[in-house]
């Protein structure tokens, strides 16, 4: 025994063992079923698009870290999540060069320019997607039908379009449930929405697996359930009211919740911890806002889908929610 070199630490001397990279890795695990289903439903197109998305995001972050002479931050796993989620929001036949351009922008303009992990005001994956939506509106709304024959052996010609060219799309394009509803008032069966039998972005079609992934993260206390709860609450409430007023024009709440990117957005994009409020009440209010914006854009906007913009706008609101919703210290609450 020797007390010659005693270390002095300021307490606590123990920690819970929680770690950012553990949380991030678990989000990746939670997304895996969605990724696998996407590959199953859309074949090589999904595999190539998601891989290109992840690799472009990863290399961008690594390259920018090297360029700015700091230790690489790819090992915190957050950029992997960005890559996967970004990939899952893309349409299956998107040209790979567009995927890569969006991925580079997602990480550089959506995250790195603000200071990297912890400082991004917006969900980086959605920043990349928003750019593509603005720059390539046709490519971003050209859909492939799921479970096409030969999806595991051949790629759609659009996927391999030469960089900087716009492709012509194959005839197998199928309308998404939201577009079918908006433009043709044609509903889709709930079971098809739940199990992912519809066309749509790569990762948004199978609601069931998305919910499972979300529940896993909630159970592990790695996701604040108040965010999806707030979103679903306003979406169900508002869409039920309008469906009640005019059932011919407005879809019912079940359709609204299970169609499009709402499920993926509510569980995996709105819940980006950095871009959402820090208090429980704040998270719930933030969710309510997103839900309301989704309904507004979907029912009266020019586009059939509004989850991406709803989340991005509410991301901007998040610091302000935090400013107004601060916890009241113990001993200062009303009635005490």
């Amino acid at each position: 025994m020797s007390g010659k070199t005693l270390q002095i630490h300021s307490s606590p001397h123990v920690s819970s063992g929680a770690s950012v990279n553990v949380i991030m890795r678990n989000v990746v695990y939670a997304l895996m079923p969605v990724v696998l289903f996407s590959i199953y439903a859309f074949g090589l197109a999904a595999l190539f698009t998601i891989s290109a998305a992840v690799i472009s995001c990863l290399l961008t972050e690594h390259g920018l870290c090297r360029w700015s002479a700091r230790a690489t931050t790819v090992n915190d796993w957050s950029v992997v999540i960005t890559g996967i989620i970004y990939g899952l929001t893309l349409p299956p036949g998107l040209p790979l060069w567009m995927t890569i351009v969006g991925g580079v922008l997602a990480v550089s303009l959506g995250k790195f320019i603000f200071g990297g992990l912890g400082y991004n005001p917006f969900n980086p994956a959605l920043v990349g997607r928003a750019f593509l939506q603005a720059a390539f509106p046709v490519a971003m709304t050209s859909w492939m039908a799921p479970f096409a024959a030969g999806r595991f052996t051949s790629l759609a010609s659009s996927t391999l379009a030469f960089p900087l060219t716009s492709p012509t799309y194959d005839s197998l394009s199928g309308a998404t449930p939201l577009a079918a509803m908006k433009f043709n008032h044609q509903p889709t069966g709930t079971m098809d929405l739940l199990l992912g039998m519809t066309s749509g972005s790569l990762g948004e079609t199978c609601s069931l697996l998305i919910v499972l992934g979300g529940l896993y993260l909630i159970a592990r206390n790695m996701m604040n359930w108040r965010i999806p709860a707030g979103i679903f609450l306003t979406v169900i409430l508002l869409s039920s009211i309008f469906h009640f007023i005019d059932p011919g024009r407005y879809p019912n709440a079940v359709f609204m919740v299970f169609s499009g990117g709402l499920m993926l957005g509510a569980f995996f994009m709105a819940t980006d911890m950095v871009a959402s409020p820090i208090t429980n009440l704040g998270c719930f209010i933030y969710g309510l806002f997103i839900g309301a914006l989704v309904v507004i854009i979907r029912l009266w906007g020019g586009m059939p889908e509004g989850v991406m913009y709803a989340i991005l706008f509410t991301n901007a609101l998040s610091p302000h929610i935090d400013r107004f919703i601060q916890p009241t210290p113990f001993g200062q609450r009303r009635g005490s």
Partner: protein, 418 residues
Amino acid sequence: MAIKQFPFAPLLVIPFSQHIGKQAIPVVKAHDEVTRGQLLAKADGFMSVPIHAPASGIVKSIGLVPSIKGTLVNGLYLEPYPASTQEVLEGKPCPLNAGKDDIIAAIQNAGIAGLGGAAFPTHVKLSNPEDTRIDTLLINGIECEPYLTTDHRVMLEQTQDIFTGIRYLLNATGAKRAIIGVEANKPDAALKLKDNAPKDLTVSVEVLNVKYPQGAEKMLIKTLLNREVPTGAHSVEVGVIGINVATAAEIGRLLPHGRGIQERVITIGGEAVNHKGNYRIPIGTPLRFILDTVGVTGVLSEVFLGGPMMGQSVPSLDIPVTKGTSGVIALSQQQAAPAKHSYPCIHCGQCVQACPMLLNPSQLGLLAKKHQYEVMDKDFHLRECFECGACSFVCPSHIPLVQYFRIAKSQLKKARAA
């Protein structure tokens, strides 16, 4: 781990300030012969408590002794006789039915300061203005720190002392009832207390869910009575006085004999320690003697007093255990974790949910990094933080939050003093 009696060290180190308040004034001289239990230093006024000899022996010298802060403080060295026994000098007993003032005086004369760790003089807590109405005496058996088991053992082994202490305390406070709070992970202690509760006392034992830091008095009052002590106020404002269970037991053990504190129960633990357990250790025993006696494996790298959440690292093994020491935890080189890489704050909100004072540690941490101490104090209630460490414990980014807050507080104090 039953409480075992610890032997006397060859040399005891006895600081004159082992409590919050003014240090005691020595009443012995160097080379004086003292008997175990004899007064060594008397209280300096109301905000002070006396100090008694933990062993029979010779006062070697009076002067400066080492302290946990790394500085030297006033105190004395006492060399116990090789054959020093456990016998203690008897004083004037305090009858159970004595008046309020007599009991409070007896508690001060016994040198009692909160044994839970804060070491606040107990008699000060009990002395309140005439018009104060106390309806509940809260006996805190929560065990403030997760690793320590002293309160647990005291509840099991000194059950009668606790109830004797409660009798004194009820008389001293005028409270009609006493509640003993125990966490659900100590069912045996709760059962023992329930079974032995005297019929003529209004005392109940409440079993609570385990939740750190429930041992903090304000938290316990909230859980048990749903009363929230207002900011800046003491518990008496909501009609409650809280006393640690070990303090109550010590009152019940000492007052009937008119004795003063000479020893206390301390958990000795940590991976480096061979014979972990609870020991009744004479006040002033140096850490080196304690660790030599219980045995240590490997090269020591860190020793702290108290528990793992709020315990203080010691700068040297020459410092003694005092009245406020509830644990001695020793880690060897293999176990003391190197400083972890810290990530930026990801706003996960874990710290906000963990904070018992309902503060926003994340925001405070960001401000601390920018040295915005005034903003932390004015807009984010820094002074309410009692440094339980829950925020640092849960932070997945390994940001040293509570450590930042300590720096912020001391910087603010310096700025205000200037």
